[in-house]
């Protein structure tokens, strides 16, 4: 006190600290508020659709704006199928890529890591545009050579685009997880005569299984909610697809495609689709967090 006065300084005010702390806490709490807000808003906006269709909304494959009958089945099936196919292709590719990046000499590993990060940084609309103008004609030609007449849009094309999009994310998480394996474990495995693949499969994979699963769910979450890339190449047909070359749609693509001209009950039905997507994405993020919590791996953001 005395010294402060002598030096002509003011005493550090006692009120500024708590105010600052509560202000910061308030901002941090915005996160939770947003989270709850998503659910509440979508639930309110989709009320009409749930009241009209009930649980039948999940099982109906109709989408008829004129008759005002709407069902979520084609969009849900399309979402699940594209995501599943993309994941089945991307998963092994991402795992062996991550293995290679971890094992490669430092300069090569850094270069490849940067390339993968760059792939993750390209906006999704660019993937969509490339898919629309480059990939669909190629798919059309490949399918034609098998004797299948198609316009190139559809389930398989969407899944391939999604594969390219989620590959860098899964790969980045897996790379971090593999790097965190204690070197002693690897050396011990090499010491008893394991080959590199045996070390990877029996040691690294067992040790980092939780982190690897976390990476899978991160990729799953990306693929599930991806809008633009799928919108451009899916064909946007409101039907349950029966073959890989059938046109399809996903929840996110349906939302982006129909929202502008929808009103009344159709808009409410679209909000209901949004709520379904929100719940799916939320559950997947829960699993991702559960598996990644232990490992402390980054989420492939950087």
């Amino acid at each position: 006190m005395e010294i402060c006065h002598a030096a002509g300084m003011k005493r550090p005010s006692a009120w500024s600290d708590p105010v600052f702390r509560w202000l910061c806490l308030g901002c941090a709490a915005l996160c939770g508020l947003l989270m709850v807000g998503f659910f509440v808003q979508l639930a309110i906006a989709s009320g009409d659709a749930w009241r009209t269709f009930g649980l039948g909304f999940f099982s109906s494959a109709e989408w008829d704006p004129v008759a005002e009958r709407f069902g979520a089945l084609p969009a849900i099936v399309g979402t699940l199928l594209t995501t599943a196919i993309a994941l089945v292709i991307a998963l092994p590719l991402a795992f062996v890529s991550a293995l290679f990046i971890v094992d490669a000499p430092p300069w090569l590993s850094r270069l490849l890591g940067q390339a993968v990060d760059l792939l993750a940084a390209i906006p999704s609309i660019i993937y969509g545009m490339w898919g629309l103008f480059v990939l669909t004609p190629i798919m059309q030609r490949i399918m034609a050579s098998f004797g299948i007449e198609t316009n190139g849009f559809g389930l398989l094309t969407s899944a391939l685009i999604l594969t390219l999009m989620i590959l860098p994310y899964i790969c980045a998480v897996m790379r971090d997880v593999l790097r965190m394996t204690p070197p002693m474990l690897r050396e011990a495995a090499f010491g008893i005569g394991c080959t590199r693949w045996e070390t990877a499969r029996d040691i690294l994979m067992r040790y980092g299984i939780r982190g690897l699963l976390g990476g899978v769910f991160i990729g799953l979450g990306r693929a599930l909610g991806e809008t633009m890339a799928v919108l451009f190449v899916a064909g946007n047909v409101m039907r349950v697809p029966h073959a890989l070359t059938d046109g399809c749609t996903t929840i996110a693509a349906t939302l982006a495609n129909n929202f502008a001209e929808a009103d009344g009950l159709q808009r409410s039905a679209l909000f209901a689709l949004g709520l379904i997507l929100l719940v799916m994405a939320f559950l997947i993020q829960l699993l991702a967090q559960y598996y990644l919590r232990m490992t402390g791996a980054k989420r492939g953001e950087r």
Partner: protein, 290 residues
Amino acid sequence: MIPPTKPKYRPLFWRKAKDRAVQVFSVISLSIAVGAMLWILGTILVRGAEVLGWDFLSNPSKPYGMPDAGIANALLGTLMITGFSVLIAVPPALAAGIWLAEFGKRMPRAAAAIRFCANVLMGMPSVIVGLFVYMILVVPMRGFSGLAGAVALAILMFPVVMRTTEDMMAMVPDTLRESGLALGMTRCRVTLSIICRAARNGLVTGVLLSVARVSGETAPLLFTALFADAWPTNFFGGPTANIPVLITEYATNSPFEAMHRAGWGAALVITLLVLTVNLSARVLFREKKH
């Protein structure tokens, strides 16, 4: 008596062959990833460069058939929307990150819950954010607006900036905090004028990375900012042109080759914008580490 289990015999030749096969497979899969990246970037570069020029960048977009069409209004709109989203998201995100890093230890449960929410928010589909902002802003304001687009992007940015802020501030050594406090500074002063300054490069990196991430986002803008063939004069009350939605319009809703070419040009511009910001963030952070 349990008969001793015989170890499964795997000939060395097969084990080595398998190892080799996996090696080859991993090289192939990396070539797919890197090759796809080069293919996509190459296509954008080649087809975008055809139309890119001063006229293209300085004239506003016009309906099909009019001469001298460009993308200047969309470019300006994108810059405005992104700029406003930075203004909206960064101050609270920094404060939230500060709370997690500096005061989170006093309320560990609340901090864990908030961290969890931030991680979940980061993985939320951006369409959902578009729907949400449509409900809370577009409906009450009776119309699409650039501001609504900026809010949507701000919501996407918020958790990313918050988590990087926390990470960066946690890297500042505790001795700095202690010496500040020992000088008689309040926690508030220590945090703002010592810790934030020490972590400055990291904070800027976090903001830049999040800007790079959201400036190419399209889905939320379809529900909020929409598009208009005009200069963004009515940012707060009317549809505002922006590059991602322009690309969507030109590529999917137009049968004309001229529109597709303009779309490629716009795609090149947005890609360059995003990658430049992304790379400069990386360079900045690398310099800090040395």
